[in-house]
Symmetry: C2
Subunit: 198 residues, 2 copies
DNA sequence: GCAGGAATGGACTGGCCAGTCCAGAAATTC
DNA sequence: GAATTTCTGGACTGGCCAGTCCATTCCTGC
């Protein structure tokens, strides 16, 4: 019930909608713009997304959520040394600084959740997976003794994620990168400060 | 050019719009809802805000920005001891946890800036003032020797603000309070860890 | 090659909502 | 108390845009 051609069209729609969402934000996103950008007719759009705008946006949100994490690979899943942490940190910051306000996270965190109830669970799921990866990284460092075992991995990871979210938010709204950098560096330095063999 | 009666009406409009903004968010805010809530007619609305919705929202945003800081007083301006920091922290978190998603910050940080260009400068101004207060607090602690003079006050303040923003964002979108708490506590503990007389 | 489903194009509808306009009431000023 | 300004109510307009509908064309299996 979906030919190869159809699959391609569907893909094209999601691609276009993703770009449109990043550029304009949820509330300014118009189906007509997606149509213009992708060269797809209204009939097609509702053929592939019978639930209309909401269904389309949900598909976009799901993709973006995956993108956020896969953008951080392979570093995020391998936080096993200070050098690895540094590389992850550099990649993360570079990514968001480059993206400026065409930012996937911005779309997810802004009012999107409020507009599309189903997006809420996608978001919490993303945050959970993210936190889990970081916790794993911290535990690993504790096992090798490079981080004190007294550190609460879960809380530290939570604070790191909050710092990233806030940093990105401030980056997109003020254009300044130092909030994001300071937040991430501060948490990592805190981790280093708790080194069990100084 | 504004009678006492007029001033009262204007006030009533801003009040209603503020409540409406917190409940619904920028993109879902309807002038008709503000009218219904405040019992004000369309003619009045455009009489007091000739620029229409945008002008009204700008007025609301300005008020909210002031509110964010004054909510933290008198603690924010008096971060002169660890106990004071603790009280400030408690007040801040209590405030946001109580507010849930009827949150002034959410309105300011979300897509509001994008929608209302003039709001951007209100926001950066708010962040600047906030950061300045925190920096002052840290410097004060350094002078009394309770925080090492090696600490970069500006960067630490930036990381604290980023953590708060992210924490609040995650609080409103996931309902979990631990991101905000962890973020704030982590920065403060980091500050304590740099105590120059252990 | 033909049936039936998949894919496409685009005209049309209907609701929503910001913003306009003006007429009349209430106040302020002199 | 007349003139002028401010204030108020609400009907009306016009544009925008999601969603509907259907006619047509394109596949695909048999």
């Amino acid at each position: 019930m979906l030919t190869a051609k159809g699959r391609r069209t569907l893909h094209r729609i999601v691609d276009g909608a993703t770009a449109e969402l990043r550029e304009r934000g949820v509330d300014e996103l118009r189906l007509e713009d997606v149509m213009a950008r992708t060269g797809v007719s209204k009939g097609q759009l509702f053929h592939y997304f019978p639930d209309g705008k909401e269904g389309l946006l949900l598909a976009v949100v799901r993709r973006e959520a995956d993108q956020v994490l896969s953008d951080q690979e392979p570093y995020l899943s391998d936080l096993t040394s200070w050098m690895a942490w540094q590389r992850w940190r550099d990649r993360l910051i570079d990514r968001y600084v480059r993206q400026g306000d065409r930012c996937p996270l911005r779309g997810l965190l802004g009012d999107t959740g409020r507009r599309i109830p189903a997006a809420q669970s996608v978001l919490t799921d993303l945050i959970d997976r993210w936190q889990t990866s970081i916790v794993t990284g911290i535990r690993c460092m504790q096992e090798t003794g490079e981080v004190s075992s007294e550190v609460d991995a879960s809380r530290t990871a939570a604070s790191l994620i909050a710092g990233i979210q806030g940093g990105v938010l401030l980056l997109t709204s003020t254009g300044r990168t130092d909030y994001l950098e300071s937040a991430v560096d501060n948490v990592i330095e805190g981790l280093k400060g708790h080194c069990s063999r100084p």
